[in-house]
Subunit: 433 residues, 2 copies
């Protein structure tokens, strides 16, 4: 069979890894694919000292690749929105298959991109967009295709998981650990995408679409970051038998699809509770399999390249038979359900509350009568002794399941109590059941 010709746009971290993996493992990739995969062209402005491109045609204009009639598969690894989208649509319109690691673009413009791909009978593959090296798109779309999926939950941002792990292990505040993560290269100079959960939400949006057969609806997802979590919260949670993780959760309910990213307490004896550092992990709960968990590196040059190249190999096998590939979002486009995404106010879960109070008699009674008033049951409560020279205390409460809108009202009332000294810290509890 004739070789498959690939053009790589962008030779940064992931692009460089892709170039090197394709080059280094060319023999085994050929043996697995049944045909040769050749890097026909690379588009890069700055080059990459880790890549020997001396044998490869290099251009500085990514659109050269999209226009190159010899290219079968364009690999978009430049990131960002506008130019990347333009590049991908140009490639699609020129009849090229596309591989991308661009989670933001897929989550926010995937519906449009997949429509163009369908009209042009080409494949757009994006395994690397979610959880880096972990083949979670393939697992959801193919491995678990027999299942009716109930829910999925993921630690899908390595930066956030590293920060929470360090905060807990070493009792260090968020800002401290963030700075270290930046020095180690785990966090960007502007860490907003990672610590505020936007990156995780992009990935969650994509997984939810495949799991539940709904269009991509990033703008309807709820996102809350980890900057308000304290080492004290992590310790209190531990005392109750929980770990705090930054989770992306999507669940099918009768009222609609939950789609939310936020810090959550999860039971410490769950395998996912022990996934630490920069590792990613996704748990999928479905009717036939029950539950399965994937763990692996969610970022990094070659781990992400592992997924990019896996997509290239899939496409290479299907180059002449693109209709044999799974649908891009798992379901036939005519079968996608415009199921409502549930407002976070309608989500029901147990809660963790940390309330900084004046430490005097009656405060517990005051707190519990507010919760009573809203029919919120307490499942655990501790009052932590006031520190020396301090007449204050932390009251920490785990509630039973309650609707978020109700909890918010109760919290507002608690914050209005005379004995309460500051904002109530509120973290959702995810039983993962």
């Amino acid at each position: 069979m004739k070789p498959v010709k690939v053009g790589i746009c962008g030779l940064g971290t992931v692009g460089g890894g892709t170039f090197n993996v394709l080059t280094r493992n060319t023999d085994s990739i050929t043996a697995r694919t049944g045909r040769q995969v050749i890097i026909e062209q690379v588009a890069t402005r700055r080059g990459n000292p880790a890549c020997d491109t001396s044998q490869t045609p290099v251009t500085t204009d990514i659109f050269d690749v999209a226009q190159n009639p010899d290219i079968d598969i364009l690999v978009e690894l430049i990131g960002g929105y506008d130019v990347a989208k333009d590049l991908i649509l140009t490639a699609i319109n020129n009849g090229k298959h596309v591989v991308t690691a661009n989670k933001a673009l897929i989550a926010e413009h995937g519906n449009e991109i997949f429509k163009a791909a369908r009209e042009n009978n080409v494949i757009v593959a994006y395994e690397a967009a979610v959880a880096g090296g972990i083949p979670v798109i393939k697992t959801l779309r193919e491995g678990l295709a027999a299942n009716d999926i109930n829910w999925l939950a993921g630690i899908i941002n390595g930066t956030g998981n590293f920060i929470l792990t360090e905060m807990g292990d070493k009792n260090r505040p968020f800002e401290d650990v963030l700075q270290e993560a930046q020095e180690l290269g785990y966090a960007e100079a502007d860490p907003t995408f990672d610590v505020e959960g936007i990156d995780a939400c992009h990935k969650l949006t994509i997984m939810a679409s495949i799991a539940f057969g709904i269009p991509l609806q990033f703008n309807k997802a709820f996102t809350e970051g980890i900057s308000q979590v304290t080492p004290g919260d992590i310790q209190y949670a531990e005392d109750f038998g929980y770990r705090i993780k930054h989770l992306g959760i999507s669940r099918k309910t009768e009222q609609g699809i939950e789609l939310r990213v936020h810090p959550a307490l999860i039971p410490a004896d769950r395998p996912m509770a022990n996934i630490n550092g920069v590792l990613n992990s996704v748990v999928i709960n479905a009717d036939a399999i029950g539950e399965t968990m994937l763990v692996g590196p969610g970022a990094g040059s070659e781990p992400t390249a592992s997924s990019v190249v896996a997509d290239i190999i899939d496409i290479a096998r299907n180059l002449e038979t693109p209709a044999s590939m799974p649908f891009p979002l798992g379901f036939h486009s005519d079968s996608m359900q415009p199921t409502e995404v549930l407002s976070v106010d309608d989500v029901e879960c147990p809660y963790y509350l940390r309330i900084h109070v004046d430490d005097h008699p009656g405060v517990i009674r005051a707190l519990s009568s507010v919760l009573d008033e809203y029919n919120i049951n307490i499942s655990a409560l501790t009052q932590k002794a006031a520190r020396e020279h301090d007449r204050h205390a932390d009251v920490v409460i785990l509630t039973e399941t309650v609707k978020e809108a109700v909890m918010k009202q109760a919290v507002k009332k608690i914050e209005a109590l005379e004995e309460v000294q500051s904002r109530v810290a509120l973290i959702r509890v995810e039983a993962m059941a």
Copy 2:
């Protein structure tokens, strides 16, 4: 597109699950496949009260299905060797695609079956043969196809993992827990396949072939069961910071491929050390991704059916384009390497030794001079106080890495010492690095 017609042979645990999942989730399966998947015929002698087959043609002769010209995909779920092999080869020769969960058959006769499939241009899929619901075949063959795989290690027998977990948690001896496992239905009346590691070795053989591009070589694998492990060993291992798991391990070395199933000490802080009960788990270490782990149910009716039906969906998408599917063992048959499987005598690893000794001065010196003689370094040693009314003690040793043949000689010499009261318990240590 015209519907895909499936014939299910065998309506036992997995066959019944397959029938029910295909029936219950027919709408979403159609939406994911892009065409209808119909159960055209079922072959069963006894039926299955959990399945409503009133709308399905039922035969008592499985070969009716293999001869039925309307059947596109024959699903072999009868198990065993001779009849199952005959059935599958008949189906292949009649131009039918085949899905099977039969690990023993694939591990021992897969080379022949895949050759017949190649000659007849049909697909033989077997995701359910390894680790039940966990899509590990797809992960190795497609998700990690870009990688050069270094090693893989799996807890791939739920019965064995359940027994070891219970022995450790509750300090109960092997025979006791085995009996409970039999009562719970986790272990067969004849538990040999599970507890002696034969079942795990079938699965390991298949994974190793896909990982390393070698033919299936079940008869060259080394297998050791868990019946010699004691609750004391589990406790001593714990004291050293390890857990004991029944592992299947395959590793590429310069001398050949390691292919071995045996109890092993693994570091307690590895996520896999905390995979307990009937769960299965596979860790794969490879050059691009680094490391990834899959966890899930390794057996059971619907978890296994999840994989059977995933294979059916893959084939349904590729019904007219079977050449677009991955090669059955991952690599093009011309590219398979007849790499030597390493004799276990040539495997190198650290060891755990438990030596029951006369508790008197000089015994430690006697033991360590034997180890010295064979250049075996001790990395940890404890002597456990003799029990009351007993002048004996356990000396427990962790060694550094040593070749198995050398360790066996040393153990022989230790067992010949006057102070040594019984056979030395020897368990390999798997650093998973």
